[in-house]
Subunit: 330 residues, 2 copies
């Protein structure tokens, strides 16, 4: 269609999580040529057809998803390297990619890829997660790749950087001298969903037409004031109590609860950072509305105004493929 | 059947909550003559038969449950007074019994019963819940009756008493000079169930054959140590992380999580009490195993060894019926 010579693909990169699969075809500069978004997370893989020759049972869902994600790209360029990050490397994934100990830098991570031979002959290389053994043990899988992408975007700030990755589980990852040295996990997003969907708090809630910033701020305020001294297990009940006495409308309750939870999270983060030392820069990476909420919370608790990172996963996948020698930048 | 003269009934008392209904027939000393335990909580009332004359739709489930709970007792002694506490007086109950402001003593509570005329002619009198307006608003409904029962059991300690009522929502109620002056709610039990049933934490758990006290203590320890500084939204993820690296077995995870949650609750309670002043005595009231756990947590966080109260609801119902002039003690 296009008169220009199409740019040649140099890498296929997969961001393969629990609930979805994103596939990127990249050129030799790491620029994305094509993107696909498929619903085939590792917990909801496609089923093989019931008729015909039975395929190898265990991996067939992964094989089918892989084929849909990049089968045609590999037919068009059979030798293309394929790299993947995320839960595809977990114990419930296609092949377990063992956790790597901290501190970890892109070179160390890229040197520890786990290889999977696919039925179509291509080799899938899975990026390891990271394991923190000191303090309370902690793990990340997928976010290490986003952090590598952020580090690649801010080469001047990697002396001392804190990367926040809000979502189902919010991760706060500390980078010093270009290496991931420490991280914390807060289950804020998943706890919010569980409280809303499966406790009495959800019963009196209604969806607001638009995000209710005032209700969110009110939740932050409570979490950060003397009223929050009872902790999150206690303050969340005020969502219901305020509603019962007519001081919080049904459609303000979801964002108030969100403010409470994110407020308690960032309040605790502030305590941890007071003990560990403030980072020179904070970068947030994730859903835009959620990052906006976290930015307000960081401000409320006296932390630095964050920078918002874009396309961190793509950049991280590319950077690690280069580290591993799979891709050679033009 | 019995040669002795049966003791005469003086009161019917109902403990009518969200998921069950307990009915007590009491004599003129407040002693329980009969007890019934029915599954007819206000959220799961019996359905009227589909055939025959249509009964008044809205109250019919309540009427049917009421009939099963005490219809025969009322036939045998038509003039018996009937009192009830719990969610039967909520907006979703049979009739809304308005919340009473703090401070509240048994006299004030007994003076504010809400009357419901039942189809069979008897009047049901419902005990109000309590509303705390200072600080974060807070409500109790049903627990006020248990606290009145505890106060009745410890007449020498009511100068300064803290009553803990563990359960779905754990309430900590402060009594000074015989009056309820303050309380806190922690949604610990319901949060535990939601985390176990509806988050990733439940996926790696197995039920232990017996309660795992060591795992529970380990959770308490984490919540109370420097490792707990990230707060409960953070420490709960260690249930999974410890499991992933083989340091916490599947069947130790439920009690470890329980220890974390109760530990964070009691740690926050300790902070609140440091600001408000320690009570002279702590009494726990509720499920025996749960009270045992809370007693260990109180000890771990340097709070007083609690006394365990029994039959607080029955005693409270009796005491409030007497306050209201419904029952006259022999």
């Amino acid at each position: 269609m296009n008169a220009d010579t199409p740019r040649a693909a140099a890498l296929i990169a997969l961001d393969w999580g629990t609930s979805s699969l994103r596939a990127y075809r990249m050129d030799a500069h790491g620029a994305v040529l094509d993107t696909r978004h498929l619903p085939w997370g590792i917990m909801r893989l496609p089923s093989p057809p019931a008729d015909g020759a039975a395929p190898a049972a265990s991996a067939s869902g992964f094989e089918l998803a892989f084929e849909q994600a990049c089968g045609d790209w590999l037919r068009a360029a059979p030798g293309l390297p394929v790299i993947a990050c995320g839960m595809v490397g977990s114990a419930q994934g296609w092949a377990e990619a063992a956790y790597l100990d901290l501190p970890a830098d892109p070179g160390a991570i890229g040197a520890r890829l786990t290889e999977v031979d696919t039925r179509r002959g291509a080799t899938l290389r899975i990026i390891p997660g990271l394991l923190q053994r000191h303090g309370l043990p902690n793990v990340i899988r997928g976010e290490e790749t986003q952090v590598v992408g952020v580090v690649d975007s801010y080469p001047d700030a990697v002396d001392d950087l804190l990367v926040g990755l809000p979502g189902t589980h919010c991760k706060w990852v500390r980078v010093r001298d270009g290496r991931i040295v420490e991280f914390d996990t807060f289950m804020t997003g998943e706890v919010y969903a569980a409280l809303r969907g499966h406790t009495i708090l959800g019963r009196t809630m209604a969806d607001p037409a638009l995000p209710d910033d005032a209700a969110f701020e009110r939740g932050l305020e409570v979490a950060g004031s003397a009223l929050g001294a009872g902790g999150v297990l206690s303050t969340i009940f005020s969502t219901r109590a305020l509603g019962l006495i007519g001081q919080l409308s049904a459609d303000a309750q979801p964002d108030y609860l969100s403010g409470l939870l994110i407020g308690h999270e960032v309040s605790a983060l502030r305590t941890l950072l007071d003990a560990r030392g403030m980072p020179a820069r904070i970068v947030l990476c994730g859903d835009q509305d959620l990052c906006r909420r976290y930015a307000r919370a960081l401000g409320r608790f006296g932390l630095a105004t964050p920078t918002l990172a874009a396309e961190a996963t793509q950049r991280g996948l590319w950077r690690l493929a280069v580290s591993a020698g799979l891709a050679k930048p033009a």
